[in-house]
């Protein structure tokens, strides 16, 4: 990775006033800290730099995006023709389960986390996040969760190659990959219906939950506490605001799923009766607990996208965001109302009239703040000077497609109409318009916008236009017909369908669209690689942007800002460039102390990796493989020791003196 260049840019310490050699020191445990390592791998594994962590999140998430996309392509290929037998029913069910899980937890959420990590400290003028080591822990816990959740695929691949067989001690290993849908409705997740895949899924999600929770708390503290002087809450960039709202949503929504998954795990491993009908368990309770988490989760996915768009549109219209405060406020309202509408996923479960009506009305209410955002985006363009650079093309596409997704959302909010749409392809169309037309396009817009900042290289050529054409055309060819499919009665999650129901043409068109979309994503990957390999130096502010992250170098130095900026206004950089004299950014004097940097550490990495034996051990124990309980306990000990040593080793830290460079 070109990231090694960052190291070269690092201030040369020889010129520092005190001859201050940057050498690793010993921690309070007596070990050498892994600072200033020459080994690139060691440097990245132990890094606490929010920018490197962000880039790692992004890379892994893009990988899983491709994995999830590949799964989707197989699904679509299977459905191209009626009564197709390309893959078996079980394989199909595994694919759509893992497609949903992968896209939500392993692709979109970490992509958002990548942007949070990279941008938030830069946007608020901070050196790093509040707890850099917790940040590193979050990343590696996410990786551990991803490994556990996908472990079933590995076993299945081994099984196909003849290297693994469910016999002897592993006889209980049936259903290697999860196959109960990404919301795992009980009692299908019970031991009488599904096997080991469900356990991998439960444990993997549990670990991902820990990763998300720790990251989210970290970001709330960062945003509340670490802002540069003058960066009042109402001067923060909208993306930072949305990060704050999303982090709070994670903090308050994830416990519900954690407990629900815990109960499910107890049902499977220790014979409790939470969702076991014969023992009095009510599967409906799982649905409630899941959606109490699941609906805020929808906003966890989509609010960062809205934040990205709210950053890009002003830059390329040369105007401030229209109605900043109301956009921020509506984001917060969406977040809060998000906790009060969960049952609209359950209109067909027989909630009763009053509850159905209440959730129906609340769902309509949540359309208002969402609409407000769209109005404000249009207002931002109005009277501006609209430049069609790559990030802008995707942002405009986002507004368009997200609007489409929003409209089918309003259609769902009418509970009786939803009785026909629920669990049909209409729903699939709706949330893919939101997820691809909304979130994916916004994330791509974000990549086009910020990658020059992240790697210091500018995009080459106009491939982005083709990416936009293929991905939006592909998305619409794939998902627009699905509205009709759903209304013509095709239920979702069916691995095949009979001829004669009028679904054949639509399905074929959808499949063709999926390949067009896939081609668009392929072009995106090519474009990113081209940018890495051939990009020209980007300069600090290639887009004539407005917010603070563009005030520093591209890529930013490890300490972000040589001197702490003092923020006089919203849109700090814009005011600095074009505003009156009294709104220019000034810088704090550091009194020659240098910049205090946190030390790198192995402990978060070790503690997080302990989750792998915990997850796999618990899952395999449920499948009846001997000694696996001990593996799980061993993993817990690794986690515990990692955290304890992390606490004892002390935060460390060293000083850098960039002022010589800055001069």
């Amino acid at each position: 990775m070109s990231q090694t260049e960052t190291e070269i840019h690092a201030p040369s310490t020889i010129q520092a006033p005190k001859t201050h050699e940057l050498k690793p020191e010993r921690s309070q445990l007596g070990f050498m800290r892994p600072d200033h390592s020459k080994s690139v791998i060691m440097d990245w594994l132990t890094t606490v730099d929010h920018k490197k962590i962000g880039i790692m999140y992004g890379t892994i998430a893009l990988f899983f995006l491709l994995v999830g996309g590949f799964e989707a392509l197989i699904i679509r290929t299977q459905l191209a023709f009626p009564e197709n037998d390309l893959i078996s029913a079980q394989r199909y069910n595994q694919l759509f389960t893992m497609h949903g899980t992968t896209m939500i937890f392993l692709a979109i959420m970490p992509l958002n986390a990548a942007f949070f990590n990279f941008l938030v400290p830069l946007q608020i003028g901070a050196r790093d996040v509040a707890f850099p080591r917790i940040n590193s822990f979050s990343l590696w816990a996410f990786v551990a969760g991803a490994i556990v959740i996908n472990f079933g695929w590995v076993l299945q691949a081994l099984q196909v190659m003849g290297l693994f067989e469910a016999s002897g001690p592993t006889a209980g290993m049936t259903d290697l990959a999860p196959a109960m849908g990404w919301f795992g409705y009980a009692p299908l997740t019970g031991t009488n219906f599904t096997g080991a895949g469900t356990d991998f899924w439960i444990m993997g999600l549990q670990i991902l939950g820990i990763a998300s929770l720790s990251a989210a708390m970290n970001f709330v503290v960062t945003i509340v506490n670490m802002r540069a002087p003058g960066m009042k809450m109402m001067r923060m960039p909208v993306f930072t605001w949305m990060t704050l709202v999303v982090s709070l949503l994670i903090v308050f929504a994830f416990p519900a799923i954690t407990i629900a998954l815990g109960q499910l795990m107890f049902d499977r491993c220790f014979g409790t009766n939470f969702f076991v009908v014969a023992g009095g368990g009510q599967p409906i309770l799982w649905q409630h607990l899941f959606w109490i988490f699941g609906h805020p989760e929808v906003y966890i996915l989509v609010l960062p996208a809205m934040g990205i768009i709210s950053e890009i549109l002003p830059v390329f219209s040369k105007k401030p965001l229209f109605g900043y405060s109301i956009v921020v406020f509506s984001g917060a309202v969406i977040g809060f109302l998000g906790f009060a509408v969960w049952s609209h996923h359950m209109f067909t479960t027989g909630l009763g009239k009053v509850a159905t009506a209440a959730f129906s009305l609340l769902t309509m209410a949540i359309a208002v703040p969402t609409g407000v955002k769209i109005f404000n985006w249009v207002g931002t363009l109005w009277g501006g000077r609209v430049r069609f650079s790559a990030p802008m093309i995707f942002s405009l596409g986002f507004v368009w497609m997200f609007m489409m997704g929003g409209f089918s959302g309003i259609m769902h909010s009418s509970a009786p109409a939803d009785a026909q749409q629920q669990d049909s392809y209409f729903v699939i169309a709706h949330f893919h318009y939101v997820a691809i037309g909304g979130i994916f396009l916004a994330v791509v817009a974000g990549i086009y916008f910020w990658l020059p900042k992240m790697i210091g290289k500018m995009w080459k050529g106009n491939l982005s236009t083709w990416v936009a054409i293929f991905s939006t055309v592909g998305l619409n060819v794939t998902f627009f017909p699905m509205h009709f499919l759903g209304l013509l009665g095709m239920p979702r999650r069916t691995h095949t369908y009979l001829e004669g129901f009028g679904w054949e043409t639509y399905n074929l068109v959808c499949t063709i669209g999926a390949y067009i979309l896939a081609f668009g994503i392929l072009l995106l990957v090519i474009d990113i690689i081209r940018c890495f390999r051939n990009g020209e130096p980007a300069g600090n502010d290639p887009w004539d942007a407005r917010t603070l992250e563009w005030a520093t170098t591209s890529p930013p130095q490890v300490y972000n800002f040589a001197k702490t900026p003092i923020i006089p206004a919203r849109d700090a950089l814009w005011e600095d460039k074009y505003g009156p004299e009294n709104r220019k950014i000034t810088y704090e004097d550091d009194h020659g102390h240098g910049i205090h940097m946190p030390s790198q550490s192995w402990m978060p990495f070790i503690a997080a990796l302990g989750f792998i034996p915990v997850g796999l051990g618990m899952s395999l124990m449920q499948a009846g493989i001997p000694y696996m309980g001990y593996v799980a306990i061993f993993g817990l000990l690794v986690v515990g020791f990692g955290i304890a040593l992390w606490a004892i080793e002390g935060p460390g830290g060293y000083h850098m003196h960039p002022e010589i460079d800055a001069a």
């Binding site: 407000v372 363009l381 000077r385």
Partner: protein, 480 residues
């Protein structure tokens, strides 16, 4: 950015707008010609290039655009589905309005305010918003939502509780016998029970049970009690009603009605006065039911329920009152032995001298009771020893238009009769490769009791032979 790129991108954005307006509009133009004219006026100023694009989109959707399909929610055949459809269309019109207004403003802004080459306009004003505009827009969106909300609430109340409709009380239309006194003031009740992956339909008032193909009277309210045996399923009969889930540990209910009742039908016909009554009107109403409602309806499980979720269909046959009564009697009577003996005699022969029972049907029945172990899981009304309840009730299975929970069909669409050849093939296929037709099925593997696990005296696997399957198929076909 250079000139060509600029034009290209502008075109791209225009293409977004136009192709979308058109394709959404197309959905609605299908409904009435008036809206078509309206839309034509709206689109009248658009250039040739755009017309070409629209034509392209039009052809694209025209190819597969038949909205009157088996499970269509567009062409409804009952008040519940109709209410749901009307609400859907209301949301469509409202959102279409918003789409045109906001999308139009959006597209206008993009085109009007785009940066032109050598643009020497002054820097845009750095205004931060306009509170009046904001509040106005919020107010407008709330107003639009109220337009949806009020009918939604009415719809929720209407579709939720089974209505008290005197015409639908069993006493008012059911001519068969053996109806308990207190049931006369109730509508027909059907208990729907979901299994992995088939449906049981019990008629508790009539003491009958059928599977996968329910029969209901036209124009009458039917109250459904929904339960599940194992995992969550969902009852969805799109043309008659939206779905309600079957959740284990819980009883849900819903009501369905195929076709309007007399009162509602009169209202729609514009006949003055709800009390209006005449034999001619009644005849018209009967004709309406006969022509538009009596039919064979397709339904499917709509909640993912495991391996063969895709193959968990069901059917509803809507019949008139007399046919319904006949069907009930048929179901109650059940079946005799193939050659008219009493069951006692047949069983005596079966025990003492099975070889005396000859012919394909008797051979099939012997397999049914014996080697193939069908009777351990299936009920055949009449047969005193076929009492298993783990699988679908097979009474009159030969009269059903499909087997394997709607997956294997033998209905001739033109006249609604059974294609006997196809039916035989379906039975044969189903028995021969149950696990292929429906992976994970318990009829094939039930922990030692399935037909895929049959063994001979030595404990060796001994699946049914082709000849045995042939005889079983013939026997099952004869159950009608």
């Amino acid at each position: 950015m250079n000139n060509i790129e600029d034009i290209l991108v502008t075109r791209l954005v225009e293409t977004y707008f136009i192709s979308y307006t058109y394709s959404v509009v197309y959905l609605f133009t299908h409904q009435t010609t008036i809206s078509l004219y309206l839309v034509k006026h709206i689109l009248s100023g658009i250039t040739r290039c755009i017309q070409f694009l629209s034509a392209f989109t039009g052809v694209f959707f025209l190819g597969g655009c038949n909205l009157d399909t088996r499970m269509s929610t567009f062409v409804t055949k009952g008040p519940v589905a109709e209410t749901q459809y009307d609400l859907f269309m209301l949301t469509v019109w409202v959102t279409l309005g918003i789409f045109i207004a906001v999308g139009g403003a959006f597209a206008f802004a993009i085109i009007k305010f785009r940066e032109r080459p050598n643009d020497d306009r002054p820097m845009p004003s750095q205004g931060h918003g306009n509170p009046l505009v904001e509040i106005g827009l919020i107010g407008a969106s709330i107003l639009l939502l109220v337009i949806i909300a009020v009918p939604t609430l009415q719809g929720i109340w209407y579709t939720h509780d089974t209505p008290e409709d005197p015409e639908s009380f069993m006493g008012a239309w059911y001519s068969g016998e053996e109806l308990a006194e207190e049931e006369a003031e109730n509508p027909l009740i059907v208990k729907v029970i979901g299994y992995q992956w088939w449906w049981a339909f019990e008629y508790p008032q009539l003491g009958i049970t059928t599977a996968n193909e329910m029969v209901i009277p036209a124009g009458k309210v039917v109250h459904l009690e929904l339960r599940s045996f194992d995992v969550i399923h969902s009852f969805w009969l799109p043309r008659i009603a939206g779905k309600v889930d079957l959740i284990p540990g819980r009883t849900n209910s819903m009501w369905i009605q195929a076709g309007d009742n007399f009162l509602r039908w009169k209202e729609k016909q514009g006949v003055a006065g709800p009390k209006e009554e005449s034999p001619a009107l009644r005849a018209d109403y009967a004709a309406y039911l006969e022509e538009e409602i009596h039919n064979y309806y397709y339904g499917q499980c709509a909640e993912y329920c495991g391996d063969s979720h895709a193959r968990m269909h069901f059917r509803a046959t809507v019949v008139d009152n007399e046919e319904f009564a006949e069907w009930v009697i048929d179901e109650r009577t059940g079946h005799g032995t193939p050659d008219g003996k009493t069951w006692d005699d047949w069983y005596a022969d079966y025990a003492d001298n099975p070889d005396s029972l000859t012919g394909d049907l008797n051979e099939g029945l012997k397999l049914f009771m014996g080697r193939a172990k069908c009777a351990t899981c299936h009920v055949v009304k009449g047969n005193p020893r076929a009492l298993g309840v783990a699988g679908p009730n097979l009474t009159n299975v030969g009269s059903r238009m499909s087997i394997a929970a709607g997956w294997l069909n033998h209905r001739i669409e033109e006249d609604g009769s059974i294609d006997l050849k196809k039916q035989y093939d379906n039975f044969y296929k189903w028995i021969k490769e149950t696990d292929v037709v429906k992976p994970g099925n318990r009829m094939w593997k039930a922990g030692g009791g399935g037909i895929g696990e049959l063994i001979d005296e030595n404990g060796e696997p001994a699946l049914l032979t082709e000849d045995e399957i042939h005889k079983l198929s013939l026997y099952l076909q004869s159950l009608k």
